[in-house]
């Protein structure tokens, strides 16, 4: 078995690794190369200008502001999404009243809830963004959210949701949470259903309530799944391009208060005089930030595996 191990591994991994190198790694190398040029992307000619593009980025307050928005997204969106996902999954699978012989059950109608929660997941990002743009429509008579607020007697709370610099980013975050939470409900549900019921029964006999059960039993046994979810939510938060581009007013507005680096990169490369080199440098900066995030996440989530 041990004998031909490396040959075996190389045999199987060579082709995927080669593909990975060509399709994933080489674009990164090229990206770095382009970031050292003044390329416009329109012609084959480009000149090497050293680290000028990076100097430009460092002095561009818009870049830092956009990066800060990405960091905010990174800090808030995954936490809220995963917390809600865990809560809903727990309620759907374990949190219900016990009836009959079943010792572990979800709240009533949990099957239907699962479908409802998962629903946004089958819609494309574009559909979700356009849908919510209509919901956020600031018109007091047509915007769904404002009409609802008015209807329940909270007329004073109606807002110009996406047009208000203080609210716009939070509104977009809420949509990102809404769009993703269903997936994690289903993912965590799958994780929870693989936890043996004996463990729950034992904790029940010891007199544990729902909260204790959740924090002492469910969460520790799900930590691997949560860590995976964290990484994927992090990726979605670092991107956020489509949501911001489709929903925000004036492409990252109002007053650039919702701009994120991928959108800034897109605008720089395709709109703003076709500055491919500068956009590539932004891509490299983004890569560094994402690397830091990945390393931190993997460090913090390192723990002993619990076998069951």
């Amino acid at each position: 078995m041990r004998h031909g191990k490396y040959r075996f591994i190389i045999g199987f991994l060579a082709i995927p690794l080669a593909l990975y190198g060509v399709l994933v790694i080489s674009p990164f190398v090229q990206d770095f190369q382009i970031s050292l040029t003044d390329w416009t992307g329109l012609t084959p000619d480009k000149h090497y200008i050293g680290f000028d593009n990076y100097r430009k980025i460092i002095h561009n307050h818009l870049f830092w502001q956009s990066l800060w928005h990405n960091v905010l997204l990174l800090l808030i969106v995954p936490v809220v999404t995963l917390a809600l996902g865990l809560f809903f999954a727990f309620m759907l699978n374990v949190g219900g009243r016990r009836k009959g012989s079943a010792s572990v059950a979800g709240v009533r109608g949990s099957g239907a809830y699962k479908i409802i929660f998962f629903f946004p997941q089958v819609l494309s990002v574009a559909v979700i963004a356009i849908l919510w743009q209509q919901i956020y429509n600031p018109d007091p008579e047509e915007g769904v959210l404002n009409v609802v607020l008015h209807g329940i007697g909270l007329g004073s709370q109606t807002q110009s949701w996406l047009g208000d610099p203080k609210l716009a980013l939070a509104c977009i975050m809420a949509v990102m949470v809404w769009a993703n939470v269903g997936f994690y409900v289903v993912l965590f549900s799958a994780g929870m259903s693989s936890i043996p019921t004996e463990i729950y029964e034992a904790s029940l006999l010891d007199g544990a309530n729902r909260t204790t059960t959740f924090f002492r039993v469910t969460l520790p046994l799900l930590s691997d799944t949560v860590a995976t979810g964290w990484v994927y939510m992090g990726i979605i938060a670092m991107d956020a391009f489509a949501y911001v581009q489709l929903m925000s007013v004036n492409n990252g507005g109002p007053n650039e208060k919702t701009d994120v680096v991928p959108l800034l990169l897109f605008k720089t490369a395709f709109r703003d005089n076709s500055q491919y080199g500068l956009a590539a440098a932004m891509g490299v900066a983004m890569l560094l930030v994402t690397l830091v995030f990945a390393v931190l996440t993997l460090r913090l989530s390192r723990r002993e595996r619990i076998e069951f």
């Binding site: 329109l42 047009g163 208000d164 995976t228 007013v249 703003d272 993997l298």
Partner: protein, 473 residues
């Protein structure tokens, strides 16, 4: 068993690589670097003759890449079929909404299509392409005889301003802007008559109308906060009306202190007052242009700053008896440098021909065909828009909005303004100054702050070496 390959570690490593790889690999990798060299050798041209002044070679292939937006692409297909019959070939036609993303790699590879309608939100940066020498100078087309009357040159039948609109800081014309757009404040004649309003001539009259409209439960104006630069269709042209063309040209040329003049103060102050009096429809700051147009066709607001395409675009929600009309620019009154009736109008829908395409003569010839009476009539009748050919709408039955635009254009005579900042410095106009305008209209900043911010942004653009600069000739 050896456990170097524990599943968890493998997944973690894969995840780590995935995290790094997924987010930003998307955009730039698609357009990887390419080798240089001209791969397209222009085909041998045909012999020039009276009927073939540009020397198109019979049977030579031609590739057209066309923006398929509000105008569709049927009108171009009609011109292509005329080309096919004349030159014994079949034009390879692609209609798309994503001109830029599809063609950028082809330009980078020096294998562009011959003929393009470079329009839409994802268009190619015409200014950058022109600067890089990738576009054909269309001067031979301008000097060629028209199809309808061989005694007239193409140059002579174009509406004034069309040639300039396609120039980027030199005499060469790189884009032929085929559609002619009249901008202004659009309104429903029916609503105005029903309420007994007349279209105002000055800022003061406009503000007085705002009070009347408010009393009648109608907002004076609405605008799309998602694209606040729509307001610039009025705002910049009004600066030109109040202060004269030189003031507007100084802004276009990014001159020092161009915004710090009285004309700008007067016009921007007027918008500050409109905002302070809350004459804009509530919620405008978060709307798309479609939502804006719908509110307006429903009668929630009296006026929108828009282009003549609004008649086609708002058609689905516009009542049959709306009686669409466009008003000329309002201004300060008799002290203005340009009289009442001054209009902002410009040629739009830029058609370009690649400099190193396979059949540049064919690309220009297709444009010449499009400028023929048969094709312009087809365009105006089906798209409800004017073309850049002077008088091409005469003899046609025009829709109300188009008729109104046509009358306004005739009345304006030579007093037609065109703010080039909107196509020369797109980011400056749409994003930076657009953001200021959005804040001005919600009352977050004063006119003085707007002027200060606009001047600062203009100065920054002037200093930015990566932005190609243009000047009025």
């Amino acid at each position: 068993m050896g456990s170097e390959f524990n599943r968890r570690d493998a997944i973690k490593r894969a995840m780590a690589i995935g995290v790094v790889a997924i987010p930003s690999a998307s955009l730039l990798s698609a357009c990887a670097t390419s080798s240089g060299g001209d791969k397209n050798k222009p085909v041998a041209t045909g012999t020039k003759s009276a009927s073939n002044p540009l020397g198109v070679k019979n049977g030579a292939p031609l590739e057209a890449f066309v923006f398929k937006g509000g105008f569709g692409d049927d009108y171009i297909k009609a011109a292509e079929s005329a080309y096919n019959t004349t030159y014994g070939t079949t034009v390879k036609h692609t209609g798309t909404q994503a001109i830029g993303p599809k063609l950028q790699p082809r330009f980078a590879n020096n294998t562009p299509p011959d003929f393009m309608d470079n329009s839409g939100a994802d268009n190619l940066d015409t200014a950058a392409l022109a600067k890089e020498g990738k576009l054909l100078d269309l001067t031979p087309l301008l000097d060629a005889p028209t199809i309808d009357d061989p005694a007239k040159k193409v140059r002579d039948v174009l509406i004034a301003g069309t040639v300039e609109q396609g120039q980027y800081g030199s005499q060469a014309m790189y884009a032929l802007n085929y559609a002619f757009t009249v901008y202004g404040s659009w309104y429903s004649n029916k609503l105005f008559q029903a309420k007994g309003w007349t279209y105002p001539k000055t800022f003061d009259e406009m503000i007085a109308l705002g009070a009347k409209a408010k009393a009648a439960g109608v907002a004076l104006f609405t605008y799309p906060g998602k694209y606040p630069y729509y307001v610039h269709f009025d705002l910049f042209a009004q600066i030109g009306k109040v202060g004269g063309k030189d003031v507007l040209n100084a802004i276009d040329d990014l001159e020092d202190g161009a915004f710090q003049v009285d004309a700008v103060k007067q016009v921007v102050g007027y918008y500050e007052e409109l905002a302070a009096k809350k004459y804009f429809l509530a919620g405008s700051e978060g709307k798309t242009h479609i939502q804006m147009q719908t509110d307006w066709t429903k009668g929630k607001a009296a006026l929108v700053a828009d282009g003549s395409w609004v008649e086609n675009e708002a058609a689905p929600t516009m009542p049959k008896d709306f009686d669409l009309a466009v008003g000329p620019l309002v201004g300060g009154g008799d002290s203005d440098k340009l009289p009442y009736g001054t209009l902002y109008a410009a040629a739009g829908e830029p058609f370009i021909v690649a400099a190193n395409g396979k059949n540049p003569a064919g690309g220009m010839e297709l444009l010449r065909i499009m400028l023929a009476k048969k094709q312009t009539d087809n365009f105006t009748n089906t798209i409800k828009s004017l073309t850049c050919v002077a008088g091409s709408a005469e003899g046609l039955t025009l829709t109300p909005g188009l008729a109104s635009a046509s009358v306004a254009l005739k009345a304006a005579g030579a007093n037609v303004l065109n703010a080039r900042i909107q196509d020369w410095y797109v980011k400056l106009n749409q994003e930076t100054i657009g953001n200021l305008t959005a804040q001005l209209l919600t009352g977050q900043i004063t006119a003085a702050k707007w002027i200060e911010g606009a001047q600062k942004a203009s100065d920054a653009t002037k200093k930015d070496s990566s932005v190609p600069k243009f000047k009025h000739l």
